[in-house]
């Protein structure tokens, strides 16, 4: 097979950029599912919510979507804390009933999607910013800014979270909460409070991920569904609860998807992540960097 070099390089580059963005999309689930063991399948719905918030403010006031997402971080944090509180009181406290917890998040996913459809319709929405459109050129390499900016923002978010989790007391407590709650209590930290903070952070990342998403592509309410598989594929592929693993998994999925859509057409791309997920679950469920 004769593959044109510039096409391949282009696919690789946009795959890496896409991978950086996927890392930001997945990092929240790495915390909630990977570390806290809360199967939040509604995560993509919150990301779409983030996209719509960025869209509304951008259209009304013309503010940059990334700036908007940083401003509304506290609101998403509060939303996450509230959702966790309901989840904790109704499911965690009453004993481990995974079935109902899953149904609960599925319901939230569904309600968010339908509510967004009712308010905004199924039209694709997009934002306006100066960096959407132009690209940087380096010889063969073509760096579209609409992919580069979200990628850089995502990597900053990712690095920040990694530092927070490994260096601060609360961060380390979050890493510990899934392993030994009693030990955590002996360290004078309330496990429920720590979990609430961690879950709230995971939802807060949706604000930034959502803004990045709507910069990369136009968004409509059901786009989130495509991301369910992608997010969990990356999360499982990288190894649950391992942030470096998540980054590697995200890059892998980004590159493979980008190559698939360049050479076989974009209609096949959604199947890639899901195929990878099924394959990982069957062959190595602990993931690449799993324990």
């Amino acid at each position: 097979m004769n593959i044109p070099l510039d096409l391949l390089v282009g696919a690789l580059v946009s795959g890496v950029l896409l991978g950086g963005f996927y890392a930001a999309v997945t990092v929240g689930v790495s915390i909630s599912f990977g570390i806290l063991d809360i199967v939040n399948i509604a995560h993509p719905a919150f990301i779409i919510l983030g996209s719509y918030v960025a869209y509304i403010v951008n259209q009304r006031l013309g503010i940059d979507p990334i700036v908007v997402s940083i401003v509304v971080l506290p609101a998403f944090y509060a939303l996450g804390a509230a959702v966790y509180q309901i989840y904790h009181l109704s499911f965690e406290k009453r004993g481990r009933d995974a079935l109902r917890g899953l149904a609960f998040f599925f319901g939230i996913l569904f309600i968010t999607e339908v509510a967004l459809i009712l308010v905004f319709g199924v039209d694709f929405r997009y934002v306006e910013a100066s960096y959407i459109g132009p690209s940087l050129h380096f010889g063969l390499v073509d760096l579209p800014l609409r992919l580069l900016v979200p990628c850089v923002v995502s990597l900053v978010l990712f690095a920040g979270l990694q530092l927070f989790l490994s260096k601060t007391f609360i961060g380390r407590a979050i890493m510990a909460v899934s392993q030994d709650q009693l030990a955590l209590q002996l360290m004078a930290a309330d496990p429920v409070r720590i979990k609430r903070i961690a879950f709230a952070i995971s939802i807060a990342t949706c604000s930034i991920a959502g803004a990045c998403l709507i910069i990369i592509q136009p968004v409509e309410p059901s786009v989130g569904r495509e991301y369910i598989g992608r997010i969990f594929a990356i999360c499982v592929l990288g190894g649950l609860g391992s942030l470096p693993g998540t980054l590697i998994g995200a890059m892998l999925v980004g590159i493979i998807e980008s190559i698939t859509s360049t050479f076989y057409g974009p209609s096949w791309a959604p199947a890639v992540a899901f195929g990878l997920l099924l394959l990982t679950l069957a062959m190595r469920p602990s993931g690449l960097l799993g324990r």
């Binding site: 899953l102 149904a103 599925f106 009712l118 598989g229 959604p270 899901f274 997920l277 679950l281």
Partner: protein
Amino acid sequence: MRSPVFFLIAVLTGAAVFFGARLAHNDYLFFAGFVILQFVVLATAWNILGGYTGYVNFGTAAFFALGAYSSVLIHKLYPLPIPVLILIGGVVSGIIGLGMGYLTLRLRGAFFSIATLALAVVLQTLVVNWTFVGGSRGAYIIRPNTIPLIGNYIEYLFLIMLALAIIAITTAHIIERSQLGYGFATIRDDEIAAEASGVPTLRLKLIATTISGALMGMAGAPYPYYIGYIDPTSAFGLGYAVNSIAMPMIGGTTSWVGPLIGAILLGTVQQVATVTISSEVNLLIVGVLLVTFVIVAPKGIVGYFQDRLRARSRK
């Protein structure tokens, strides 16, 4: 109640429903009834895996669409009568269910759930790219207006779905009272303890997934003939997944009665809401009811009344 007696009562009830509906001389009744019965089958099928063993399947739409698209494929190659198509749809979905289960059921429950979601998207992508069965544009199925013996085609479809509902409910009832059912219950209550006491958990889970998937595929097989036109977005609609989870959850998951009550209740509400308000609002109603019930009444309607009866008898 013993199974043959149960089956007889179910058939008699079904016959009463059919002839009762015929008395009304209104085709709309059959159109709406078909959808409600379809949900009875889907909810019962979902509950065989979800309610009895505690493994959540988000991929109802995938199994349903598998059945529907098997019918489309065969219709294009060599048209066969619908009961045969139902059998084929059931076999196809059952096999896929078995394969899925084999890949993921050895892991924690959450992985199975996520994988079922993944299955739906993979299959949808395959169908979208498969032009022979219509691709993303969809396919038309031209159905006859009348059918020998019964006459009206929609009455024929209604009758078929009624028969499927009876089969599904009887299957659920048989499972509940059998060794299989007790095995399922041990998995739901404590899988590790069950495994340690010698219950072959993986085999039981695979049986549950296969039966459940097969019934969903059977429910999907007549769908193209009902709707006349099928496209991936509608066949793989998230509404099927949400409804088939919400109905048992609202009715109660521990016995066959729960999904039946849930499906009739929610199905009727949705038929009314679709006509009077809009189809988006009715999906919102289902979502809100689902979340409310899992928080407020985790045992569903059946569990709620059982608890009240028990409380009264104690006084």
